[in-house]
Symmetry: C2
Subunit: 563 residues, 2 copies
């Protein structure tokens, strides 16, 4: 019997990866990473506005070609591989990362007029220029449509679709007027591969729409015109362009176009799965299911779990979203996350760079931090260097470190930063459980889980439960490949359903990190202190004088920089 | 007419300096620094106890010889200098830095039995091992002798004499039993030079006794036996050894002994002034007087002013001390201070070392930080890396930084640390003024004032008043030389009083740092936020959850390290 293969394409913050997987057993035959060429490691920044983060769609197109080509070359050296047995492609991306496109579905930044305009590029998930608009949307929804907020944690985020579109309408009128519509790159890239970027043909995924654009079948799809008009009458046109129906990843965005089939030397017409966010397909690649919480740890972290559609599920305050079928067909998808995790460690290594280039490596700092006992440094940090996504849903928060003395070392600070992210992870887990979403097992995946056993042990000790690791270190791309296998279907050599595809293609490692009681006890005390800081700086409460501190500092900074 | 000269000896945390000064005009003829040989830059540390900091008296003795010898050699190359025209020696030291001595006045650490025992060395001012004992003394005084506390800011500090002696009685019984008495090095060193270390001959200065050992003529000298017995009955013996009378710096500790005269090749019998703390004599060297606040900025900072003895002066909560004649005869001396200033900047440069050896210099970080506008970084820091001396009088506080983002740079943090110390300085100035001690002019001296115009401008902007600089960069040693000139007296070629000596021997620089209104306005906002953090973490208040955070972190740290 022939082997059959699918391709998972995973678009991250700094790079895109292609992975070629045997659908029978999940074996990875080829893989290649392309680092985006533009900006600062793929991210276009603006020194005068620390909130701005954009990406150029040209980097995405170039990434598709190079990574698939090179991964196929690699696969071709393995026994049993043949290009003609590639039966589907799946796509995951960062998000909410909306891209303005013209009436033909061409990204504005790919047209000569707008090619160097950051406002015409993709507004990357971590772009926070729309914080004022997010507040406005939250206020309007609280007044007019509380049900919209209930499904996204009680606050609309500056990272999300409508905040960014509303912001563009104000600061980039030329782009806004030229844009026929705005498309999440999770939807745009499958449409590109299928040659279906034209608005009438494009299929939007329920994942991006539901978690970031207030789409929910419960209220008939995207938000209604009256609500949007209260924000800005011109949003009605955008609403119109989105259509009424969104699709799960069990469905096809279209067959691979002749043009791309030729470019990639792959069979024309093989299905391209509807796209979804990296964390959601990462959860699929790590074996998510009811009772399993998957943590995808990278530059930021996503926490994903699911709950059967027929279960009675409370709204969970502070969660990024509760969306029917946003992860797996048949289940609610629940998403939480931390706005920065690896990014914080990288900041310390690459920007603070303690001791200089040679000393300031993750390996050196980890080696020194590993020798420290929990609590030994006397340091405690908040992991809000890029805001707080869950449970505070507030980008206008910042990092903090307390306990500094004249002998505090870089390794102590490095460890405190890791511990801070673990405390943040525990806040999220506790919030799920408080609202009845049981967490029976935790599976970690992503780069940090693979590279830092110390971080994993700290997480196990802080969360005080065993942590498993996914076998693949590329679960997002693997999840995309799983989706491709389901969309291809059993008749073409794929799978009939997600449960069978997940069972065949994903697995856990043997190694499990088990909490150490002595460490867990110290972290219990430190966690209570973390919660004190968390609530004092993060929760609006007239008893406290500290809630305004981070916000005023950002306000002062922004005024000074704007001068 | 012959020139006449005095020698100022200034014992700092890491080194000792000798300065040879012409008493007619303050001109500096010779100067030499000796870096202590022992421990870490002169400070004996203990990795298992971050609170411990000791100094070996052998380093002091060696320092006297080398620095005076070399400074005299240097002076001898100048016109008009002659060793026979040296008319007196003055001494200032760190404090409270008590040293256990035997019945002959010999430091225990200079005897074979105790030579390597840190508990037998000088307990350096920044040793905080006695924090529990300080709390105990504060509690006992609050109960039994509130007047003792009123003159030292309401809390007895772990840096001070009785806390350290009580601590020694508990953790170092052999040292405690072998010690006939404990002597501040400010008193011990003049006694060494005069050959009068024997307890009956030794003259203790009112500066150390009054600010650190609860000495006050108002209640008959040192604390009474009943109070001390409540702490530990064995303290009665120590109390007995201290005598009842202390002396101001206008008096002589004795004439230079034959032994030291020979060793230093100086006239035998020239007067050695009673010793005082570096900051106090630094204030004298900077021209202190009623209405003038002198800030001696170095590794830590002292703020000194005086108020006439006949003025009605309220007790000022949080001040390190209000002591009759502790600075100048005829005035109350008022002392405040910050536990770490330059030490914090040095910590960032030497321990965090951002960017490595070549990049992490004060010069480079200053050059980059100078380009930043006030408020531009969005960062705010607390300057408590070594506790808070004034106004909280609490060593169990730690440093904090808030506002960190993924783009925060080392230069931004460096500037935030400098700003934090300026905010701390403003808290002190405001406390003086709140209680009726007017500050008409501020004079800065010490290493930082000399080396960092950026820091001085930040201080001027934050405190929102003009800052003058002392002409000498060695005001502590200069103040000691001034005292020596007064003790020598007019008949021997010195001065008849402090006002005439100060007028002749000290001066200000022409350069004055003037507040910039735009910067002062931003700092006004930042200072309010600083006060929010200051009060939330530093003031016990049932409304706030944050007061215990720093203390619990230190408690957890100390327990883990003790294991």
């Amino acid at each position: 019997m022939d082997n059959h293969f699918t391709i998972g394409l995973d678009f991250g913050t700094n790079s895109v990866r292609a992975l070629i997987v045997n659908v029978a057993n999940g074996q990875e035959y080829g893989s290649f990473i392309y680092n985006y060429a533009r900006g600062d490691a793929g991210v276009v920044l603006d020194r005068s506005d620390a909130n701005l983060a954009r990406q150029h769609p040209q980097d995405y197109l170039r990434g598709i070609e190079i990574t698939i080509d090179q991964a196929l070359e690699q696969a071709a050296t393995k026994n049993g591989f043949s290009r003609k047995n590639v039966i589907g492609i799946g796509v995951d991306t960062t998000g909410s990362t909306p891209l303005p496109v013209n009436a033909a579905g061409t990204a504005l930044a790919l047209t000569p007029e707008f090619q160097d305009d950051p406002n015409a590029m993709a507004w990357l998930w971590k772009d926070h220029t729309a914080h004022a608009e997010a507040e406005e949307i939250t206020a309007a929804a609280a007044r007019m449509r509380p049900q919209y907020l209930a499904k996204c944690g009680g606050r609309y985020s500056s990272e999300w679709f409508w905040a960014k579109v509303l912001r563009a309408s104000r600061v980039a009128p030329k782009v806004f007027d030229a844009a026929h519509t705005w498309v999440e790159i999770a939807d745009w890239i499958p449409a590109v591969l299928a040659g279906k970027t034209a608005p009438a043909a494009l299929r939007r995924g329920v994942c991006a729409a539901g978690h970031k654009a207030m789409y929910n079948p419960q209220w008939g799809g995207f938000p209604d015109d009256q609500f949007l008009a209260a924000l800005d009458p011109r949003l009605g046109r955008v609403r119109q362009s989105l259509g009424d129906k969104c699709y799960s990843i069990a469905e096809s965005a279209g067959g691979l176009s002749a043009e791309w089939a030729a470019k990639l030397n792959l069979p024309e017409g093989i299905p391209v799965a509807v796209g979804a966010f990296d964390a959601h397909l990462g959860a699929v690649g790590a074996g998510v299911g009811p009772g399993t919480l998957v943590k995808i740890m990278g530059t930021s972290t996503c926490d994903i779990t699911v709950s059967p559609l027929d279960s009675s599920l409370a709204d969970v305050p502070g969660l990024c979203g509760i969306v029917p079928e946003s992860v797996l067909p048949g289940d609610f998808g629940l998403e939480a996350g931390q706005s920065a995790v690896g990014d914080i460690f990288n900041w310390f290594v690459n920007i603070i760079k303690p001791g200089g280039d040679e000393q300031a490596t993750h390996a050196n700092l980890t080696a020194a931090a590993e020798k420290l006992q929990p609590g030994e440094s006397g340091l405690l940090s908040l992991d809000w260097h890029n805001g707080n996504r869950t449970v505070l849903v507030d980008q206008r928060l910042t990092g903090l470190i307390v306990g500094l003395t004249l002998t505090s070392t870089p390794a102590e600070i490095y460890r405190a930063l890791i511990e801070a992210t673990a405390f943040g992870a525990r806040v999220i887990m506790e919030r799920f459980e408080e609202f009845g979403v049981k967490v029976q097992r935790v599976v970690n995946c992503g780069g940090i889980a693979a590279r830092s056993p110390m971080a994993m042990q700290i997480y196990a000790d802080v969360m005080n439960r065993p942590l498993a690791l996914s076998r693949s270190t590329q679960t997002c791309a693997l999840g995309s490949a799983v989706a491709a296998a389901v969309v291809a279907g059993k008749s073409r050599g794929g799978h009939e359903s997600f449960p069978s595809a997940v069972k065949a293609m994903t697995a856990l490692q043997d190694k499990v990190f088990t909490p150490q009681p002595a460490a867990a006890q110290v972290y219990e005390r430190l966690y209570r202190l973390y919660r004190n800081l968390h609530d004092a700086f993060g929760v609006r409460d007239s008893k406290q004088d500290l809630y305004p501190v981070m916000k005023e500092l950002l306000d002062i900074r922004d005024r000074v920089r704007a001068k």
